[in-house]
Each structure stands twice: as structure tokens, then as C-alpha cells.
Amino acid sequence: MSWAPQTRQTPVGKWLRNPVATGYTGMALGVFAAFLGIPPFTSRTATWSLIVGIIAIMCGIATVTRGRKRLGLGAIATGIGGIGLGYLATRSSVDNLNIVFNASLIAQTFAFATPLVFAAIGGMFSERSGVVNIGLEGMMLMGAFWGVWGADVGGSWVVGLLVGMAIGAVLALVYAVFAIHLRADQIVGGTAVNFLALGITGYFFFQLYHGNYVSQGVSTIPNIKLPWISGLHFLGPAIGNLNLMIWVSFMLVIASYIVVFKTPIGLRIRACGEHPRAADTVGINVYAVRYGAVVLSGVLAAAGGVYLSDGFGGGTFNDNMTAGRGFIALAAMIFGNWRPAGAFAAALLFGFSSAIALRLQVYSPSASTLFNVLPYVLTLIAVAGVIGRTVAPAADGKPYRKQ
């Protein structure tokens, strides 16, 4: 198009013409509008939220008119939500806000998000290879119980972690045999795994511990104290003393991104999930890849479970401890569009809403419930395709039959 008249390409002009950029900027501004009312900003009038929110909505409108309808609508919705939340924040007292929103909220968000990150990344591997895994909840629960049992019997959290992951792998292997070799319906099989895990952990919890908390003094997964950060003003309480598994989960996200998108193994996994017949034709062993991916999902979900009981929970277990976290992880994976970074962002968002819900319980039970239900509502909206349609791997959930 060299003959076209050269328009002046300022960076702002470029940005305005790119609907994807305006869309995401609008969403970010919408979120920012909500944060203006709370510490560390603590704006006491709703004006600032209103201004930023309106800019977000304008970005959204610009995006819609340039053809990215869903993204733009998302930005508009975030802007409206941001104004609303920012306004609500100005209505409550500064003292309450300081109790609910402080640096340790960040630490708590990570703590709530980490089990979700492990399970969601695990689920992503399984689904990328073409096996739906709604048994994440059960695998996580198995990890939670057997992990703390291993730490109790073996005397070390390392043993606990290994035992928990091994049991998760065994359960995943059983599921894999049914889902891959026996070509059972994967939803039915996953449901069975959840029931089975609930029964087994409950049974042995009563058999071994009489349904009481696991004995005191169990070796727990340690926190990592960062000496050069923990003394700082805001960062100290936020990230200065996080659990080891939280840092592992960060590395897991990066590692899984590299494995899935930058290595031959990842290419094979994705090929099996998108078109197993074609993968088979070029010599990939579809069954082996799927077995590996499902077992890995069990290991990771169980690791999330071990963190829940032996890290976050301080070495205790109680009946049905995961209480739906496996399903939130599944939701995070879907919300994150079957991508490691997306799943991580969604897990953080859901972890944040859990952390907020916990803190709000004292002041306003109904607002607390609202934040508890948020992950499910957002996921329902996401699968409905209102904001950025999610797309599952093409062969997800379809058993493959060798020829």
C-alpha cells in the first residue's frame, strides 16, 4: 500500500486504531477505577472512580465500533463495575477499608490462589491432550488427605508432598485407564473420581484419625522469608513471607507455558487434543501422551491439595476439605482459555475474591457471599461467550480409538 497517502503515525493514533489495545486498556482502567476507592489510594469521593470508569467505557465503545464487540462489551462492563465498586468503597469508613484492604490481602490472595493454580495447570495439561478432567476436585482431595498423612507418618513435609502426589497420580492413572483405554465417558468417569475420593478420604480419615484434626506437630511446608524484602513497608507483608508452594506455583506457570507452547512435547500434547488421528498418523503415540498428561494433572492437582492441608491449613485435614476448589480450578482453566497465563490470572482473580469474601464475612455476610459466588458467575458468563468466547481443544472429551 505504498501509494496510499501517508498518514501521520503517532503512537497514540496507532493505539486508537487498534481495537485489541483499546479493549484491554479499557478493562484495566475499569479495574483501576474500582481500586481507587481502597487503600493505598483511598479516594474519599467517587469522582475519581467515575472519571477513570468513564474513560474505560469510552475505550470499550471505541473497541466495539472497531469490530471487537465482545472485548469492547467486556471493557464497558468492567468500567461500569469499577464505578459501582469505587462508589461503594467511598461509602464505608476508612478504618474498615484499612482492615479489609491491606498488604496482607495480597499474601492471602496468593495463598487462596495457589491450590487453584496447581489444579488448573494440571487440568490444562489433561484437556490439552484431549481428556476432560472434572475429577480435579477428587485428585486434590486425595492429595490433601494423603499428603498430611505422609507428613505425619513420614515425619517430614517432603514425604507428605511426595506421598500426596503419588496417590494423586494413582487415582489419575485409574481414571486414565477408564477414560483412554476403556473409552468410558469422561464426564461420568470424572464424576466417579470425585465420589471415590470423597469416600476414600472420609473413610480413612475416620479409620486413622477418628475424624479429628490430624495430630499436632505435623511437619508443614515452610514459608520462605525473604530477608531483603520482609522489612519493607508494603512489599514486606505482601510477598516477604510466602509459602514455598506459592513460589513453586509461579515457576510452574512459566514452566508449563514453555512446555506447552515452546517444546516438541507440548506440540505433541496439543496435537493429541486437537486432532488425535493426525497426531497418530505422524507417529505420535496418542495413548501414551494422554496417559502422561492425565497422570501429570493428577500429580499437580494433588500437589495443590497437599499445599491446602499441609501448607495453607497448617498440617490439618477435615472432611471434604477442598469444598469445591477443584471446580473453581476447572473454572479458572476455562476462564483462562486453556492457557497457563490465563489460568494463572483467573486463579488469582478467584483467589482474590475468596480472600475478600473471608475478610468481609464479619462486616457484611451478604457481600461476602457475593465474592464467594463471583468465580462461578464469571465462568458461566465466560462459557456463555458474552466476554471473549472460550474455545476448548477440538478433541477435548472425545475418546480416541486406534485403527
Binding site: F178, A192, L198, G199, G324, L380, G385
Partner: protein
């Protein structure tokens, strides 16, 4: 099912194995008949027994106690006198069976349309909430219209809740499993908010505890076996039995049922034959939800009358409905029998067990294990077919010509 027009007489195995869920189920029904579900249940009970044995309990004694605890030994000396322990236990088991029949039908109906309704729990809860609200709010109505209003409202609410998933599936293709899981949790948290501290439907008299109001006397279902107000067996049991008949009639004797099954067996072929796939997905889901909502209504108006928010996440009958429907091969008679099996397990494990034999807490979790194993084995049609074929190969050739009796409703 031999005169089933949607099932070709010899469906190729390949198509059935890679095809839709309903196609696979049809294949299994022809392959195994009654034998396979019984085999599945037996295998699950045996494996559950192995765990019981490995942890130092006697499985035979444990199962005997559960059998007696569920009141199933009533058949050896039947009596209508509710003062008899066996009769009382049986009435309680049947109360659980009532709920499980309807929760099972909620799963089975969607299955026949090729969908997996994992959201029976949420639909059941919505029915429970609406029945409680209508049962309390309209106190002073005459009993019959009040009951009809509460039951009807709860049924419609369940249908609407499931209808959301059906609508999303039909319009934007959202997978019903994901949307119903999300709707389950939204229903759970919605109930905690509605009936919790400061919630709009919290008990008006006592604002310090998160419980619901009591259903007015005019909305309570009459009890026919036992004592009203003390968990007697109410007329809801007959409603559930009637629902089994309605389920079979809709599926096998109406145009609606024909279309639903056609869509479940092969959506492309159904669409080619002029059947609206979208309409039937929504309809099948809504009818499924109606069954679950009805279950919630009968529980609330039959014997619960009120509930606390802590009961909401603890309830799992909607999930048990999955095992019931799968064990019953998604047929009316099968669902009825499956509901009785799991109803007996549910009540028999909570009650009257000696801790010398097996602790009730252990037995309760044994129920979950058996439930999981049943669902696991039911899902593996290839395994079942393999066992079935291996059994036929073992028999002498002269006998192998006798075909298995395809007993299904």
C-alpha cells in the same frame, strides 16, 4: 425397546462407541440388559467390602447391619405398624428413595437427550428454596391449593434453573456440564445468602441463627405411614412413583419423547429429519430440572419443613441421582430400583450401626465409595462389554446361540 424407531436393528459398534452418549447407552442396553447393572453394583459392593476388610472390619456383618438398618429386613415379617423398628426404618428408606427417584430422573431425562445434567443438586436446592418460601409466605391458604402452588412453583423454578444451561447449550453451545456445575455453586451460595444472617428469607422470628422459616401447616404434605411432623412417609412417595410412569410415558409414547430421544441418539440425523435440536435441548433440560425441583419441593413440604444454611452444602442427593440414573440405565424401572438401592445405603449407613462392626462415619463414607465405583464401572461400557463377551466365549458353543434377554423399560 425392541420397537424403538430411533435405534436401527444393528447399529455398527464403531459408530456407537465414538458416537453420542445416548447411542452408547442404547448399545449397552442391548448388550447387557439386566445383567450389566447387577454386575456393576455387585462389583462396587465387593470392592467396597475389600476396603472394609482391609481396615479390619467384617464386610459381611457390615452389609448385613446396613441392610437391617435400612429396614429391608421388613420383608421377612411385614407389618404396617410403624412402632416396629423395621417398619420405621423402611419408611425412612422410602423417604430417601422418593428424593432419589426424582433426582435420578433429572439426570436420566437429560441423558436420553444426549446431555449430562450434573446440576441436579442445584436444581434440587432451588426447588427446596422456592417450596420453603411459597410454603411460608402464603400461609392461610386452603391446604390443597397451597400445596399445589408450592409444589408447582418449586418445579417450575427447578425447570428454569436447568433451562439456563439448556438455553446456553442451544444458543451459544456452552457445554452443559460446565454451566450446570457453575449453576450448582451459584444455587448453593444463593441459598446461603437468601437464608443466611441478614438474608431476605431468613427466619423472621429468630434473626440470630441462619435458618429458614417453617413451612405453614397448610402446605405440609399428608403423611400416610408414620407420624406427621416426625418424618413420617408422606404422599410424596406416590408422586415420585407417578413421576416414574410419567417419565416412561413421555419418552416412549409421546412426540416430545420421540424427538428428545432422536436428538440424543444423533443430533444431525434428527435435524435432517426436521426436528429442532435447539428446542429439544432446552425442553429436555427444563424437564430434567423440573424433576429435580419437584424432589426439592417434596422434601421441603414432606418432612423437612425448614433448614439451616449449613445443611445446604452438606446435601448431596442431587449428585447421588447421577449414580441412581446410571445404575438404572436411564430407564424408569431401573431408576426406581437404583433409587431404592441408594436410598437404603443412605439411610442404612446413618442409623443403627454397631461401632463393633462398623462405625456409622465409616459406613457413610462407604456409601460414597460404592457410589463412586458404580459410576466408574457404569461409565466403562467397553469393560462391561468385554466381561460380557468373555463370559459368552467361555460357554459351550451350543449354548452361545441363546441371546441375552434385553430387559429394559
Amino acid at each position: 425397546m425392541s420397537a424403538d424407531p430411533t435405534v436401527p436393528p444393528e447399529a455398527p459398534e464403531e459408530a456407537a462407541e465414538t458416537g453420542t452418549l445416548a447411542a452408547r447407552l442404547a448399545l449397552k442396553q442391548r448388550a447387557g440388559g439386566l445383567v450389566v447393572p447387577i454386575l456393576t453394583a455387585l462389583l462396587a459392593f465387593v470392592l467396597g467390602g475389600v476396603v472394609v476388610l482391609a481396615t479390619g472390619h467384617n464386610p459381611l456383618l457390615a452389609y448385613r447391619d446396613i441392610f437391617n438398618g435400612a429396614g429391608l429386613n421388613w420383608i421377612f415379617h411385614p407389618t404396617t405398624n410403624i412402632a416396629s423398628t423395621d417398619a420405621y426404618n423402611l419408611s425412612q428408606t422410602l423417604l430417601q428413595t422418593t428424593t432419589l427417584i426424582l433426582c435420578g430422573l433429572a439426570v436420566a431425562f437429560a441423558f436420553r437427550c444426549g446431555m449430562f445434567n450434573i446440576g441436579g443438586q442445584g436444581q434440587y436446592l432451588v426447588g427446596l428454596y422456592v417450596a420453603n418460601w411459597l410454603g411460608y409466605e402464603f400461609a392461610g391458604m386452603r391446604p390443597l391449593p397451597h400445596i399445589l402452588l408450592a409444589v408447582g412453583g418449586a418445579t417450575l423454578a427447578g425447570a428454569a434453573w436447568a433451562g439456563i444451561a439448556g438455553f446456553l447449550k442451544a444458543t451459544v453451545g456452552a457445554h452443559e456440564v460446565i454451566s450446570t456445575i457453575m449453576l450448582n455453586w451459584i444455587a448453593i451460595w444463593g441459598g446461603i445468602w437468601l437464608f443466611g444472617d441478614g438474608g431476605p428469607l431468613q427466619n423472621v422470628a429468630n434473626k440470630s441463627v441462619p435458618i429458614s422459616n417453617d413451612v405453614a401447616a397448610s402446605a405440609q404434605l399428608p403423611v400416610f405411614w408414620g407420624v406427621q411432623g416426625l418424618q413420617g412417609l408422606d404422599v410424596g412417595f406416590f408422586v415420585a412413583l407417578a413421576a416414574l410412569v410419567v417419565f416412561a410415558l413421555i419418552l416412549n409414547r409421546t412426540t416430545l419423547g420421540f424427538e428428545v430421544r432422536a436428538v440424543g441418539f444423533n443430533p444431525e440425523a434428527a435435524a435432517y429429519g426436521g426436528i429442532s435440536v435447539k428446542k429439544n435441548l432446552i425442553r429436555a433440560m427444563a424437564i430434567s430440572g423440573a424433576f429435580a425441583g419437584l424432589a426439592g419441593a417434596l422434601d421441603m413440604l414432606g418432612y423437612l419443613y425448614h433448614f439451616g444454611t449449613s445443611d445446604i452444602p452438606a446435601s448431596s442427593v442431587g449428585f447421588l441421582g447421577i449414580a441412581v440414573a446410571l445404575l438404572g440405565r436411564n430407564t424408569a424401572i431401573g431408576t426406581g430400583i437404583g433409587a431404592l438401592v441408594f436410598g437404603a445405603l443412605l439411610y442404612g449407613t446413618t442409623h443403627g450401626l454397631s461401632s463393633n462392626v462398623i462405625d456409622p462415619s465409616l459406613a457413610g463414607n462407604l456409601t460414597y465409595m460404592i457410589q463412586g465405583l458404580v459410576v466408574l464401572f457404569v461409565g466403562a461400557d467397553v469393560l462391561i462389554l468385554y466381561i460380557w463377551n468373555a463370559r459368552r466365549k467361555l460357554r459351550p458353543k451350543s449354548k452361545s446361540k441363546t441371546h441375552p434377554v434385553g430387559a429394559s423399560a
